[in-house]
């Protein structure tokens, strides 16, 4: 659909263009086949499926059928995923684990589910567009357009009421009113700490200097979190529009998206989106004839987790080492180049347009009183349905893990859920009914973080998990302050000793004391929260620590130094384990009991998982 894009200079033009675009789309397209083309979809093999669909479409010579490349639908567990939508009725069917060979059947079937394909029930609703009639556990505000529109086509965004919030703000509201609306909505920063967004904006709004900055923090770095990437890949305009709104609210003309260089697809889509928004006059000079100028630049990260911290991020944009600086001064007072700056996370921005379009009151009706709205989580680990989910604040962990995630893989026992990445903590089985928001998670010794949610089962050693996060912190510490640079090194060394069975009870006490000191003294938020995984696992799973120390055992059978593999008399000599062993340390004649060379064994567990006769012992 190539229609010349007009430059829109007032609200009437926008209304008219939106209406035209919608009509044009529904006239031309009867059936819309949405193909999930996020990084995860592509990694899972969407590209050949797309090609097959295009070929089938051409071969079957259908009219009114369109294939749209969309962003992530959040259904990672079933990628590649495809949704077929009847544009007139809104009826749709979602297929999972699609293969190229399914293309013909999908194209032929329209919105009637094609035979022999995995059909996925849509587990979410769109609060902005519909009532929750199906009683869906998920509510999509942030991910409203992700997986529904082509992120590389601004017209599709406009058809979803895109840029109307910006138009409303510029023509009908004062900056103070915008700040008040966001403040009133109770929106809290989705990047981790949950600082009220409206308050941040009001600080920057009150500053005198003319030069101010709006920065979008897209340096998502938690290991196991990919919400921001999905948003930017699926709906980049929602973030750009929100940044312009923030610019108006605080009086800034310049916006910067600081994005991880490891997100090439998100970068590409952002670049396209910025270009298109400029073309249409939504970015640049005198937007909607309001006299307001705003433009957005991209700056790339270069592989430093600490740059997710706002002062480090600013240092990085200034071309420096990404070392956090002490606050005060806060960026809202003196940030980028010493000028008032607000730094908000991608997901935070992705809420803003919906709040402006529907009002703070609407937003507050979703979620909890202290934490209104929704939260996107990247659900991963030992769970059946890995995926990106968006739930109202206040949803219980049980609902997320057993309802949306469909429980633990391979019928294993749930052990813990880790939230907040390297800054967070683990939550145990008996706390599963906790409803989650910023404050309840902190009470449980964890934190919201950016939204990684890793499910662990009985095979996970919690000491190793703590050590894993410490290793991450160690790699990513900027090295500026003593507690983070040296303290975390010592924590890691102590944890290593425990996993090797070389620690004593004194080590445990030192671990506890040093964790408390680091939390108390580190310079930045990341350093202060870096001992959380240790503190939390020590509090919740002390028995596992004690087992390592006092009994020299790793209950989960993970810690290589404390585990031995051997073969018992159940062995039939089938030699499967021998073939699977990566280090060839299993010996034995065919059809006789095999033996593991304990010296050479790397304890990878391949033999155990491959044995069908229960003949491998792990002790």
């Amino acid at each position: 659909m190539t229609v010349a894009k007009p430059i829109i200079t007032n609200s009437a033009q926008l209304t008219e263009f939106t209406a035209q675009t919608r009509t044009r789309m529904s006239d031309v397209t009867k059936i819309n086949i949405l193909v999930s083309m996020g990084t995860c979809g592509i990694a899972a093999g969407t590209t050949p499926v797309l090609k097959a669909l295009e070929e089938s479409l051409a071969a079957q010579n259908l009219t009114g059928v369109k294939i749209t490349r969309v962003g992530c639908m959040g259904l990672c567990h079933s990628e590649p995923t495809i949704e077929v939508v009847d544009t007139a009725s809104g009826k749709s069917v979602i297929y999972g684990n699609v293969k190229a060979s399914h293309a013909e059947a999908i194209v032929a079937a329209g919105v009637h589910p094609a035979e022999g394909l995995k059909v996925i029930e849509r587990g979410w609703y769109y609060p902005e567009d519909e009532e929750n009639t199906q009683d869906a556990p998920q509510a999509r505000i942030v991910l409203r357009n992700s997986g529904r529109i082509n992120p590389e086509d601004i017209q599709e965004y406009i058809a979803q009421s895109g840029y109307q919030a910006l138009c409303k703000v510029l023509l009908e509201m004062s900056p103070k009113q915008v700040v008040a609306e966001i403040t009133d909505s109770g929106l809290r920063g989705r990047g981790g700490g949950g600082f009220p967004t409206g308050r941040k904006w009001s600080f920057a709004n009150a500053q005198k200097p003319k030069e101010k900055y709006v920065i979008c923090n897209a340096d998502e770095g938690d290991p196991g979190a990919f919400m921001d990437r999905a948003i930017l890949e699926g709906d980049p305009h929602a973030v750009l529009e929100a940044m312009a709104i923030a610019g108006f609210a605080i009086g800034a003309k310049n916006g910067i998206v600081y994005i991880r260089a490891e997100y090439p697809l998100a970068i590409e889509r952002l670049q396209i989106a910025i270009h298109q928004a400029r073309e249409m006059g939504f970015l640049g000079k005198n937007i909607f004839g309001s006299g307001f100028d705003f433009d957005i630049d991209l700056k790339f990260g270069a592989g430093a987790f600490v740059c997710g911290e706002e002062t480090a991020l600013i240092a990085s944009i200034e071309g420096k080492r990404g070392e956090p600086t002490y606050k005060p001064p806060f960026p809202a007072i003196a940030g980028l180049w010493g000028k008032p700056t607000i730094v908000n996370n991608v997901e935070t921005f992705a809420n803003v347009c919906a709040i402006i379009r529907n009002g703070a009151g609407w937003f507050k009706r979703i979620g909890t009183t202290g934490s209104p709205g929704t939260k996107v989580f990247a659900l991963a680990g030992k769970i059946n349905q890995v995926g990106l989910i968006e739930v109202p604040m206040g949803t219980s962990l049980r609902e997320i893990i057993y309802g949306i995630g469909k429980g633990i893989r391979n019928g294993k026992q749930f052990k813990a859920v880790q939230t907040g990445g390297p800054s967070g903590g683990c939550i145990k089985r008996d706390q599963l009914d906790t409803t989650i928001d910023y404050d309840t998670l902190v009470l449980l010794g964890s934190m919201m973080g950016s939204g990684g949610m890793i499910i662990m089962d009985e095979d996970d050693c919690m000491v190793s998990v703590a050590r894993f996060f410490l290793e991450f912190t160690l790699d990513e510490s900027c090295g500026k302050c003593t507690p983070c640079r040296i303290g975390n090194k010592r924590l890691h060394e102590m944890l290593t000793k425990i996993t090797q069975g070389k620690a004593d009870m004194q080590t445990l006490q030192k671990l506890r004391d040093l964790s408390a000191s680091i939390k108390d003294t580190a310079l930045c938020g990341l350093g202060q929260s870096s001992p959380n995984p240790v503190r939390s696992t020590m509090n919740q799973f002390e028995d596992e620590y004690l087992a390592h120390i006092l009994e020299g055992k790793c209950p989960a059978g993970v810690c290589a130094d404390l585990v031995t593999y051997s073969i018992n008399e159940n062995c039939t000599g089938c030699a499967v384990c021998k073939k699977r062993c990566p280090v060839d340390c299993i010996r034995g004649e065919k059809k006789s009991v095999h033996v593991i060379d304990a010296e050479a064994c790397i304890k990878c567990g391949m033999c155990l998982s491959s044995c069908k006769f229960n003949a491998i012992d792990r002790k």
Partner: protein
């Protein structure tokens, strides 16, 4: 683009030790990029272009040897120490040549709980190099990678630009063999 890592690694030859002299076209590409930056309008803030310039330089040369750092430093009017301080801080940048095949094991939590550490150890064992190192023959670089977002396929290994999902230790040998064959 910033994350373009697909360019060939350039290694200076013995008779032309300076990379810039050995590859005048690459030098020109970098100079053109640096000249295109709006430096005149950025008085006192030229350092703000440093990281993107290094991204570009690394995309062109494959790594950032001192002569490339010098070129960037001169253009942006920075001390070389500032440039090196930045390069050595960010894990994306390297001042050493990287291997022909880049093997990066995802070290995200989802991959960790599904055994990524064992995969990494196995690669290290097979290639006889540690994480962050390049093999002596220049064929392989081994590294960790932060979450690539393909958690459903965990554990995940990036082999050059491709994602290998659900990797198990026995697959490591095969991946290495495949790379060797491609290299021939």
């Amino acid at each position: 683009m910033a994350s373009d890592t697909s360019t060939n690694v350039t290694t200076p030859t013995a008779d032309a030790p300076n990379l810039l002299d050995a590859f005048p076209d690459k030098r020109q590409a970098l100079e053109e990029y640096l000249d295109s930056l709006p430096l005149a309008r950025a008085a006192g803030r030229k350092k703000g272009f440093l990281i993107q310039s290094l991204h570009r330089a690394q995309a062109i040369f494959g790594y950032l040897p001192e002569e490339v750092q010098v070129l960037v430093a001169k253009k942006l009017e920075l001390h070389l120490s500032e440039v090196y301080g930045v390069i050595s801080f960010y894990s994306f940048f390297t001042d050493k040549p990287v291997g022909k095949h880049k093997i990066n094991v995802c070290t995200g939590t989802a991959c960790f709980v599904r055994g990524a550490d064992i995969i990494l150890q196995e690669f290290a064992r097979q290639l006889k190099i540690s994480e962050g190192e390049t093999s002596e023959d220049g064929m392989f670089s081994l590294g960790g990678l932060r979450c690539v977002g393909a958690c459903s396929l965990a554990p995940v290994v990036m082999v050059n630009e491709d994602v290998e999902g659900n990797v198990e230790p026995p697959m490591v040998k095969k991946i290495i063999r495949r790379c060797m064959q491609e290299g021939e």
